[in-house]
Amino acid sequence: MGIVIHRITESQARQLISDYTYTIDDGSVSNWPTYFTDPCLYRITTRQNHEMVMPLSIMLCDNQAMLYDRVEAIEKANIFEPHYYRHVLSESKVVDKTDTTIHMETSFICVRTMLDGRVTLFATGRYSDQIVLEEGRCLFRSRVVILDSSKIDTLIAIPI
């Protein structure tokens, strides 16, 4: 029983991007891996490295186990001042689309608020996403975060 959706739609992809954003901004980092396929690619890089075709990442996970390891490190091992993100996203642009995959790009700005009230414009950049349908669920097969500036804030503890 149940409806099997065969073709991925733009609105499903937009919904995924929106849900991901609220998950991160709500602080539920433990749900972060559920947005990705396995294997997958999540990486944060800079525009400079991207344009120079340099492979270095600021954060890199290429499978579910690595995503969960990162979550566990954030929750149990790493020490940092608690803070929250607030992402504001642009309309997403469809770069490429097949029946099973949508390549979308979305600009973002991310503001960070510390518990003592300090608010900073933390990061700006764009997401370059490969979104697929797996067993009826829309997921990121790849999400590359390309930061505009190559000078990064002191700390990126929580994924962007």
Partner: protein
């Protein structure tokens, strides 16, 4: 010539380098004098990697204290460095961080300089239609760019402003030269770079790098990785006069490093962390240099770091920006003969470094916290007595702040404090 030092900036506590007066992290006068006494003084400052400028005309910008510098490969293939300041009115000649040029032409009035910094032309040098032009006293030869003395070693480029700087070998010492040869001895391959805003004085960052005492305490992730715990075999090696250092530890690459640990310590740590890594790709490490040394952190006074964290190789420079602000510049590299698996391994292990570094993230912020804590107590001092009072390493131990005291020994010597 060194100007006489201004009226004593700070009174150093009589205990010597086992006390660090908090004032040195916050006082604008101290910051200002460091520029002259240290950054424009008799030190070797890291300028970049030779792989960044492979061909004649390739340049990369660097920052020596507050002074902007161009590092460029000349037509003869030699690496040179000069101040990024036009001799006319001071405009920077290059403002794109890296590139390839045949000469430097200033945008303001088109003064031109060759790749060695020699002045070659100025717009309207002979006036317009025979009228005007440069005064007869003007001499192009006297108006070249200010050059730095350069020393390259295994692809690392260093420069100095001072004629009094000792030779590089004397400045760092034989053990540190040997470790540079060890880590950078093969042809390097650039993997990428970024910089990180550090909300503290530059010295709080370099002290943190030179302090192995905190490694297994502040960085819980080291426990998870079974890495850099003070129960592992290792030690500290001091450079010339104790100013620079290497901290190292060994592991058994075959068994994942556990043979050097004491059993009780390990179980205690595992209980605290309560997890091990699910993914093994970050811990799938190999013995890059065939000596079982899995970690080396080397500093070169005042602000350079060469890092080997297992297979994650990088250089770092901490650039002072203000009393409470610095910029940490990272360049990650591997080797040209790395196969794909090794390159991927290094890229995964790069999760340990930088602003999101599973190990490095605490290092970026700890200096800022210290600086918040010491505000209002600038007449007080830090207590640095782990491992004694001196700078001699304790054989086989890294539980020491001797290398931190070594940094301050160099600092006091140059600052006259």
């Amino acid at each position: 010539m060194k100007k006489p030092q201004p009226a004593l900036l700070v009174t150093w506590p009589e205990e010597g380098v086992r006390r660090i007066p908090f004032e040195v992290y916050s006082d604008p006068e101290v910051f200002k004098y460091e520029q002259e006494a240290i950054f424009r003084g008799p030190i070797w400052h890291f300028l970049g990697l030779e792989v960044q400028i492979p061909d004649p005309g390739c340049y990369v910008l660097a920052q020596v204290g507050e002074t902007p510098v161009i590092v460029v490969r000349g037509d003869d293939g030699e690496v040179g460095a000069m101040v990024n300041r036009c001799s006319h009115k001071g405009t920077p000649l290059a403002f794109v961080p890296s590139g390839k040029v045949s000469r430097f032409m200033c945008i303001y009035h088109n003064w031109c300089f060759d790749l060695k910094g020699k002045m070659t032309a100025a717009a309207f040098e002979r006036g317009v239609r025979g009228k005007g032009g440069m005064a007869s006293t003007f001499n192009k030869q006297e108006n070249g760019l200010q050059r730095l003395r350069v020393h390259t070693l295994h692809g690392l480029i260093f420069g100095t402003f001072s004629d009094e700087t000792p030779s590089f070998a004397d400045y760092v010492g034989a053990d540190l030269i040997a470790n540079i040869a060890r880590v950078c001895g093969r042809k390097l391959r650039l993997l990428g770079q970024y910089s990180q805003a550090i909300p503290s004085n530059w010295k709080l960052y370099i002290e943190n790098v030179k302090d192995p005492y905190h490694a297994s305490i502040l960085h819980a992730f080291n426990g998870v990785m079974k890495q850099d715990r003070l129960t592992m075999e290792g030690g500290i090696v001091m450079g010339s006069k104790g100013w620079s250092h290497i901290s190292f530890s060994k592991m058994d690459f075959e068994t994942g490093g556990e043979v050097y640990e004491e059993a009780e310590m390990r179980s205690a740590e595992l209980n605290i962390y309560g997890f091990g890594l699910r993914d093994k790709s970050m811990t799938a490490v190999w013995d890059d240099f065939g000596d079982s040394v899995s970690m080396t952190i080397q500093t070169i006074f005042p602000n350079f770091v060469l890092q080997q964290l297992r297979n994650c190789l990088a250089v770092r420079t901490i650039v002072p920006i203000g009393t409470h602000e610095s910029e940490l510049r990272w360049i990650a590299f591997g080797f040209e003969d790395d196969d794909e698996a090794k390159t991927n391994g290094r890229l995964k292990q790069a999760n340990m470094m930088g602003p999101a570094g599973l190990i490095a993230m605490e290092d970026g912020m700890i200096g800022g916290l210290v600086q918040r804590g010491i505000a209002g107590s600038l007449d007080k001092a830090a207590v640095v007595e782990m491992g004694g009072h001196g700078i001699e390493p304790i054989p086989g131990s890294r539980v020491s702040e001797g290398s931190v005291r070594g940094f301050w020994t160099g600092y006091r010597a140059l600052m006259g404090l």
